[in-house]
């Protein structure tokens, strides 16, 4: 099949640049896979990169919705719900973390469906404002349901990540930070692959169509409303799993943190800076911006280091509206 016949979104970038980009991707993958070996006993580096990959997954999850043209300012609603669902089920119901993490995704997806139904007729700016308000609802409910959630005190001493068994071979991911790193790495790669597959399928083309011209998309028979709901709940599903992983990695959550501005802002900032109409962009932005924040700006300005995210967002909107990867990667 020639390039012109491929039913996938085409890159506008020249062939040499695409080859370079693929090489870069492979190199990044290898570097990330080798990181625990290279960083040796430096626990802090590993911890930062575990968090980086978690935020990369969150940004990719955000972009499942973002690629269809919508901007959400409230993904903390799904992140926080995922975190709380998994934390509560694993402590109160004593379920295995292997089960509670996917369940957290399911609950978050249901919440995403609810948000989608409320915001059914909203587009663009109004949708964004609605998500800004929506995040308050699970937050206030979680804070007030204090006989179950401990309210604003938060939950402490959560179970860590699960133990992997394979015959005699045993890997305790709660005890080993290297194992936890690979767990999050595997999740990030999985989300990336799923996003890639979705975006190159006919679904991806439909998302693209409804992003560019909704009326036209509707007129050729694309079920616009159903697709919007699907995009939002899929995005919420993956964000909820990110929240659940966060809860079991950090083993402490509180409403002000997991439903806070930070987890709403971060995926949006990363996805827009990386290029919200690209597949890889959000993950790449996470790989660049979060370590930059933690290794350079945090030691310099312990109080205001998060200004970096604001600055990156402002500069992107003003000067690189397509995002970093949008300029030489494959835009979908």
């Amino acid at each position: 099949m020639t390039a012109a016949e491929r039913p996938v979104p085409y890159s506008t970038a020249p062939r040499e640049r695409r080859t370079a980009a693929r090489g870069g991707m492979l190199l990044t993958f290898v570097a990330l896979a080798a990181l625990p070996v290279v960083s040796g006993q430096n626990g802090y580096v590993l911890q930062v990169y575990t968090q980086t990959l978690l935020l990369a997954s969150l940004a990719l999850a955000w972009n499942v919705l973002g690629i269809s043209g919508a901007v959400s300012l409230g993904h903390a609603a799904f992140f926080g719900t995922g975190a709380y669902v998994s934390a509560l089920l694993s402590t109160i119901q004593d379920l295995s973390v292997w089960i509670t993490i996917p369940l957290a995704g399911v609950f978050a997806a249901a919440l995403g469906m609810l948000a989608g139904l409320i915001c059914m007729r909203l587009r663009g700016a109004y949708f964004a404002l609605a998500t800004l308000a929506f995040v308050e609802i699970p937050r206030v409910i979680t804070t007030n349901w204090d006989n179950v959630t401990q309210g604003s005190l938060g939950l402490v001493g959560l179970p860590g990540l699960p133990v992997l068994h394979w015959g005699d071979w045993r890997l305790d991911m709660a005890a080993s930070s290297t194992a936890a790193y690979y767990f999050v790495f595997a999740y990030a790669v999985m989300v990336l692959c799923i996003v890639g597959i979705i975006q190159r399928s006919s679904f991806g083309l439909a998302f693209q169509a409804l992003r560019e011209e909704e009326t036209a998309a509707l007129s050729i028979g694309i079920p616009v409303s159903a697709l919007r709901l699907l995009a939002l709940s899929a995005s919420a599903f993956f964000a909820g799993i990110c929240g659940a992983c966060y809860a079991h990695l950090v083993r402490y959550i509180e409403p002000g943190l997991v439903y806070g501005l930070y987890f709403s802002a971060i995926p949006m900032v990363l996805a827009i800076c990386g290029g919200r109409f690209t597949i890889l962009g959000p993950a790449l932005a996470a790989l660049v911006i979060y370590p930059l924040d933690q290794f350079v700006f945090h030691p310099l300005l312990p109080a205001g280091h998060e200004f970096l995210y604001g600055l990156a967002l402002v500069l992107t909107v003003l000067f690189f509206p397509k995002g970093f990867w949008g300029y030489f990667g494959r835009t979908s």
Binding site: V71, G124, A125, A133, I137, N144, I272, G304
Partner: protein
């Protein structure tokens, strides 16, 4: 009891109106959603706090400084907002969200994360009406917001620039065809918006604690009132402010104070879902 609740709701609602006016005006004229609104307000509050605390300036005199400072910041921001491309509303949201993060962290750096309050004891004293439990602070809020609305009304209906502003709110293209300099109107809107932010900021610092992360709360309030009243209906904002404050008081009274935070959010969601063009709009959506 009931009269106290109503009085306090009226005073709080008037304050909400002051908080929302700048946002509503800037959105009406330029179609820019300024999500950094709350942060600008808190910044004005910190300016007043700093003058009041370190320079021992009487509270009343902090207003002119806060107003001039926030007008300057708003005019500088306007230069950046003017560079945004279409879709303007969405891009302004994303852009101003970034500005909000920037200002929030700048405040964290300059003023630390501690809670600050401008304590003016006289404001809490009763104004001496036996029948009505009103404090000086509540009277000030009522007077200031009604005064500000009246001033804005006079400006919008009885001066040429005001009428031009209203024309721009109603229809940008038609206003431009009638010879109104729409770009200049945008600058004017940001200047007036800055004025109201500078007016509301110091008040925010004396009835609400100041801390760097409190901006989004004020922003959400401003968004809710603006959507409630509908684009350009500045008179509706004061009604919206009172209704919201009343709804909050009732919630606090009958359900519990911890549910209060959900009221603006739930109201905004309901409005957006049912009447995104404002409660006074006649079209069904």
């Amino acid at each position: 009891m009931l009269s106290a609740v109503v009085v306090s709701a009226l005073a709080t609602g008037s304050f909400y109106t002051l908080v929302a006016l700048g946002f509503a005006l800037i959105y009406g004229v330029t179609r820019n959603f300024n999500l950094a609104h709350g942060e600008l307000l808190v910044l004005a509050g910190y300016t007043a706090y700093w003058l009041w605390k370190t320079w021992a300036l009487p509270f009343v005199f902090t207003f002119p400084v806060a107003i001039v400072a926030s007008m300057a910041v708003c005019l500088a921001l306007q230069r950046l907002f003017a560079r945004l491309s279409e879709p303007l509303e969405l891009n302004s949201i994303v852009f101003s969200f970034g500005i909000a993060i920037l200002i929030q962290n700048a405040m964290r750096l300059c003023f630390s994360g501690n809670y600050r309050l401008i304590r003016i004891p006289t404001l809490n004293h009763g104004a001496g009406f036996n029948a009505l439990p009103v404090s000086y602070g509540q009277l000030t809020l009522l007077g200031l917001s009604l005064g500000a609305i009246a001033l804005l009304y006079l400006f919008m209906y009885h001066t040429y620039p005001g009428k031009a502003l209203r024309a721009t709110i109603q229809n940008r293209e038609a206003a431009a065809l009638a010879g109104i300099n729409v770009a200049a109107m945008g600058i004017l809107a940001f200047a007036i918006g800055g004025f109201f932010i500078g007016l509301a900021g110091p008040l925010f610092g004396c009835i609400h604690y100041l801390y760097p992360a409190t901006g989004p709360e004020a922003t959400l309030l401003a968004v809710t009132l603006t959507i409630f009243a509908g684009v350009g209906r500045l008179g509706g904002i004061i009604l919206a402010g009172w209704l919201l404050a009343l709804a909050e008081s009732i919630t606090v009274l009958y359900i519990g104070s911890s549910w209060r935070e959900m009221i603006p959010a739930a109201l905004l969601l309901g409005l957006l879902a049912l009447k995104p063009r404002g409660i006074f709009s006649d079209d069904g959506r």
